[in-house]
């Protein structure tokens, strides 16, 4: 028997899939459907969305059956959310602040806060890692954003 938390997770997952299917169906319904001989742009997406919505509903109904999901991040660690949020902020800031500064901050957070490496070790690793990666990749021809830094 699944615990209430796992059951809730399964139900949310089923609901998400069903919702995604229905939303997709709404969007796909505005595309040209065509017919079976000349399928339009929306023909295939409509079929897939209907199937996805049906499977989502089935997952919702059968949430209490089957083994509990292993990779349930929602019930787990706060550190996962720290990493995901940090990456989202990183992506937003990258074009404005630049690769080196963003990556130093990210690596510092990952090493110190998530990996619990000492402050000194984290700082040295973050700075050296970011600068060498930047220098190496720019030299290889990948134009990484410089941002606030002059180089």
């Amino acid at each position: 028997m699944k615990g209430w938390c796992a059951l809730l997770g399964e139900r949310i997952g089923g609901l998400f899939l069903a919702g995604l299917g229905l939303a997709g169906l709404y969007i796909a319904s505005r595309l040209n459907f065509g017919n079976v001989h000349q399928p339009g742009s929306g023909f295939y997406p409509v079929l897939v969305c209907v199937l996805l919505a049906a499977l989502g509903v089935l997952s919702l109904v059968r949430a209490d059956k089957g083994p509990a999901a292993d990779g349930n991040y929602a019930s787990g660690d706060k550190r996962i959310w720290v990493v995901v949020t940090a990456l989202a902020v990183y992506t937003w800031a990258l074009p404005k602040v630049g690769f080196v500064l963003c990556t130093v901050a990210l690596l510092l957070l990952l090493l110190r806060s998530v990996g619990r490496v000492s402050w000194t070790g984290s700082a040295i690793s973050a700075v050296v890692g970011s600068v060498t990666t930047y220098a190496g990749l720019v030299r290889l021809g990948l134009p990484l954003p410089a941002g606030l830094l002059p180089f």
């Binding site: 997709g24 001989h37 059956k65 083994p67 996962i80 990556t103 690596l107 998530v114 990666t133 990749l137």
Partner: protein, 669 residues
Amino acid sequence: MSILESLMLGFSVSLEPMNLAYCFLGVLLGTLVGVVPGLGSAAAIALLLPVTYKMSATSAIIMLAGIWYGSMYGGSTTSILLRVPGESASVMTCLDGFEMARKGRAGAALGIAAFGSFIAGTIGLVGLALLAPPLAEFALDFGPPEYFALAVLGLTLVSYLGSGTVTKALAMACLGLLLGVVGLDPVRSEARFTFGVLSLQSGIELIPMVMGLFGMSQVLHMVRGIHASAEEVAKPPKGLRALLPNRDEWRDATGAIGRGSLIGFLVGILPGAGSTISSYVAYALEKRRSPHPERFGRGAIEGVAAPESANNAATASGFIPLLTLGLPANVVMALMLGAFMLHGITPGPTLLAQNPGMFWGIITSMFVGNVMLLVLNLPLIGLFAKLARLRTQYLMPVVVVACIVGAYGVNNNPFDIFMMLGFAPEWDDVLEGAFSPAEWLRAVSDDDWWMFVGWPVLLLVATQTLFLLPICARGFRRTEQGTSLRLSVAMAGVVAAALTIGLGFAAWNLLHLLQFELGYSTELEYEIELREHHRWLMVGIVGVSWLLWSVILLFFARRKNDHWVGTRLIGLLLGGTIAEVIVVLPLDIMVRRNNDCYCSTGTFASLCFSAWALLWLAGPGALIAVLSKRRRLWWETHCAGCGYEKGPSPGAKCSECGFEWHKNPARPT
């Protein structure tokens, strides 16, 4: 070109200095990836995909393939010394490998894993070299409907063999199909699901997707288990002599290596199965056939030899569907497909004809890589054991930066990093699904969609899929107070109806042929021209047939006595399903290739008859066999005398009819 000439051509490509260097780099990286727990081969390949941009396609695939089979070698080291599987395919090796190490036989376990891997890898490659060319030639006759049917079969198998519930696996595959349609419609150039974002018009980029699916999801896994470490570490052996198993161990392991290689090779070809499942199957088989199964889990060398051989043979055979049909058998092969596509090459039946050097170069590079791995692994085991204790705290930031740079580097666009983050949760089946819409669209756009039911090869594969769908639905196999028995019967009825319509087509074809043979008609049109009313007639036949089959199957399901001629027949019919595939598919292609029309060959009538007869007989047979198990379970929870439900605490006899259950609790005669 003979096989020897082809191999010579392959070796001339794979032994080029640059390719040799990439092969070495690949196997070295693969071994390291296998050794370091927390970083899988799929993640490593995904991380390195952008690096291959500037390489030649052959060198790129040689290197990525090296990572794949190299990780299988490396995975065994941590399994044996630390009881931490470096790869999912090495999980079974932990059981006996670590026990052997605790008993001071770590060297023998590592040695047999390396030798077994080498032997199995070589056997797998010989099989690949022998099987791939005829299969590629055979597949040249496949058209979009056949490819679509194969893709559906692949998705079904992935859902069946995947972890978790079948519903979720199918939903993930559907999500993959949906993601595959994002971008401009290839036929009408109409934007679909792009939400006005320009970056989405070319579809979802492969690299951010795989970086998210494999790289970032791996990071999240690392974050979860970042402070976990192996509790006990066995001492690595010192010196090469310590790695050699003794005579008794060799004797015990030889058969296991042979059987493991064979199982690995066969399971590796199946879509969705791969090296992990092959190692499970090989271990289970060894344990079952052993006269002393109690030794397993306590340091039996067969428990190391069989799974290690199986996972290496499976890596070689996994290339067969990719190189010959263009179908990825597992997620790593899906990444390989992506690598091919990045270089503008579509793997499949035409690869051998258009790029023989590349085709054979990849195969022979694996021979070379296997030798490299053997030489590399045995003397460096001590070093790898130290690397295996590398803390994930340091590994995780490296993977994060590699993912970011890889995703960003595709278009120099931060949007791709967001895209990668969106794929970070584990949605492995999504990737499998993302490749099939194109074939479907080609199939329905090229011709009338009725071609889906008219072509024998397609129908055979599709029917196999139909068998698998209800079988893999787990509810079908279980009983819960017998309540969903009717649903099972209805599902079986649908499938049986599909089979009946197939028989209808066969009869139609046969009638045309007989008319021609008997001189009533001088012209024989194989292609059936279906008019509108014919189509409705077909739908009607399916409907009637469904109802009819449901009644027949329901009758069977409710029948109390098991000892009747039908049950004996079921076993025979089940075998027919396998015979059907083995016999009919090659025959069909053979006949089709002889001439544009089936009719001009003498085997057509027999082929047509036997194909559909087998299809019809084997199909319901497989369904009835599944139903019979369910039926037995149903009767275990119901009174055999009157069918009354026993309830949670049944007494000695039925409260309805007084039937005494203990006399014959399941089924009276």
